[in-house]
Point group: none
Chain length 224, copies 4
């Protein structure tokens, strides 16, 4: 999936890698703080997490966080930007290369779930935590979110135009339902066992239902 850039996480690695300047941790502070934030936000939620919790988890002083982020809320925004925008970029960049609308829609499913597979905490942040800051939600996330939905709706629309998808459903509704279904699956996965491989299987099965559900149905309509 080439999304290798999504690692760099698991800072435990960098802990022993960087031995260049012994007294200093060589600058990946920002990343370490974000990684720590994902972990503690996922565990306790945005409001129940204190900035000092993030600092402790990141192994930095409280004040250090404010050298990289202007506020606790900004930390959440940055999390969103750092991780999710890549998803959007992929969908808008890679997906169009796929030949059919069906494949593109299936690609969305694989993308969204595949991205989170193995990143349980990130999944929890995106499905639960992000909703915790109403301000962030309303002012910042909603526009991105709508852009994402629009991208999905475009795929559906194109599929309807090409005759791949049934024409009698609203593309925007489908987009919302698709996103919601993915979100619901992720949510229960994150809150529950989070079994490995489960999300991949889920994207396949969801694809089955969705794609056949969106198929033009001559039997039902033409039979009249």
């Amino acid at each position: 999936m080439s999304e290798a850039s999504f690692s760099g996480r698991k800072t435990a690695k960098s802990r022993r890698t960087q031995r260049s300047a012994p007294g200093r941790r060589t600058g990946d502070k920002r990343a370490r703080i974000l990684d720590a934030a994902v972990r503690v936000f996922a565990k306790s939620g945005f409001y129940a997490t204190r900035v000092s919790d993030v600092a402790k988890a990141a192994g930095v002083a409280d004040g250090t966080i404010y050298l990289y982020f202007t506020s606790k809320e900004h930390l959440l925004v940055s999390l969103f930007e750092d991780r999710v925008e890549r998803l959007l970029a992929y969908i808008q960049g890679e997906l169009p290369k796929r030949p059919s609308a069906k494949e593109r829609l299936q690609g969305v499913l694989e993308m969204q779930l595949g991205l989170l597979e193995g990143e349980r905490e990130l999944a929890e942040v995106l499905t639960v935590i992000l909703r915790q800051s109403t301000k962030l939600m309303k002012e910042y996330a909603v526009p991105r979110f709508l852009a994402y939905l629009d991208a999905i709706a475009k795929i559906v629309e194109a599929g309807q135009a090409s005759g791949e998808f049934r024409p009698d459903v609203s593309p925007h509704l489908v987009a919302r339902a698709v996103f919601g279904a993915l979100d619901g699956i992720t949510l229960t996965w994150a809150l529950g066992r989070a079994e490995p491989g489960a999300l991949a299987r889920a994207s396949t099965q969801l694809g089955l239902i969705l794609l056949s559900g969106l198929e033009p149905r001559p039997s039902l309509q033409g039979a009249t």
Copy 2:
């Protein structure tokens, strides 16, 4: 639909005094506080809302809230209990009467969306605000939520047994996807225009996709 049942349950708990004068200020304090809580929680979120905001919106003194609820968190729990449990009750009580699994699944869609149609703020509380208290979410809401998912999964399972639904998908996955789709639709509806009638239309269209997506597909499987 069944909106009548939404009146003043639980108020009996407050005291035996109620009902002296029929107008305002009658002992319906508990209900008034809950109504106010829905409004202000929906507007500002759980954490950004101060207890005194709820009090002001309800037209009572701050301390009065603590005569009916043990804490701010309990206020949210009570909201959940008062409004949502009825949904569960309906699904477990009314739905089984419907003859086919298809009709029962369609009933779930109509129920969940129909319940919130016209209650934009409640919808927002349930889809967004409820997730803001991680404690409440994990300790209280998750079990109810899983029970709800189970009820849906049971319907799917029965449909598979009766040959109404395709057997090659996990009932639990379907349940999550259905819930997620409904939640996603509600979320965008609540955060957006919240146009009247939109949710009813949505339940119809979603039913179209879902039911045909779940149909056994002889063409695809038998044709091999």
Copy 3:
């Protein structure tokens, strides 16, 4: 000791005695509230006790307390007045009849300890609780307290004048020490087992030490 008037307490009695007017508890409300106050103040202290605790213990409504007392603090003052002033009165009224200073001092010991014997909670109120309201302590209790000390000092002074007591100690110091010794004995008694009869024995032994300690000591002084 003729202090029979000190009962009337143990309202349990009045509970079944007064059957004249069936619907009404016939007016001993004030006494019942004070009795309840002694009990709960002794148990939890003045500040940790809520007015509603007193009300519940007295079997009246919260508001009723304010028909008899102007404030929570006034409740404590009234307790003081109702119970302790009698002690002062006795000392100033009965004691002078005793012929010698020795007997009068011994009478003080018997009085103060005897009064509390069997009234463990009252003892705790006087030795501990009364000190809890700094305002009451400084504005109200101190003057009464000093009057009490004065009365004891007068006895000592008279004893010195008559040659019963050694002249080389300050009567006021003796008064304070006597009061303190009594208070300390009561305190540990009240905080501990509060064994019946213990206070009576204590007054005898304390008398032994005190009276011989106060005796003019020709052997020690004249022998030189």
Copy 4:
């Protein structure tokens, strides 16, 4: 007398930073807060004192207090620990060196009163304020207090065994009476003028009475 030992014990706990500049604002925060607490508690009592009053008197922010003490109650406990435990230590450490029981008992008087001479506010806190937190009193102070009483009783017991003291009084009663007398003297001194030197004189006179009161009395008993 041994007043030097009253300086900054326990401050080591705060951090390793202290002692950079010798003037004010040096890391002696904990000590400054405790000093302020003695002053304001003595003036207004425990409950009437707000944490912000202590903060203002100490010249720190409200929140700073919670960097050194977990709660308002803990502030009072710490006061007790910081100042009083030394008394216990002295009595259990220094006193045994004195050759006779008489001298040891006299030492207790000098100790307890000498400790407070010149510390009027501390005296008030110990005799009055400490008793205001019933919780602290019952859970924390009583055990220490009983240990102190035991130490005194042991002295009396030894004196009885050696023939220095009369055998016909209970050592524990004597201990309580001694403590009470000292407490009573301190109380009136603290609430009154608190004249300098008064406590020293008091310990001498109290010693006179007590030691002769405890003397074996052949004249009274053998004369029979």
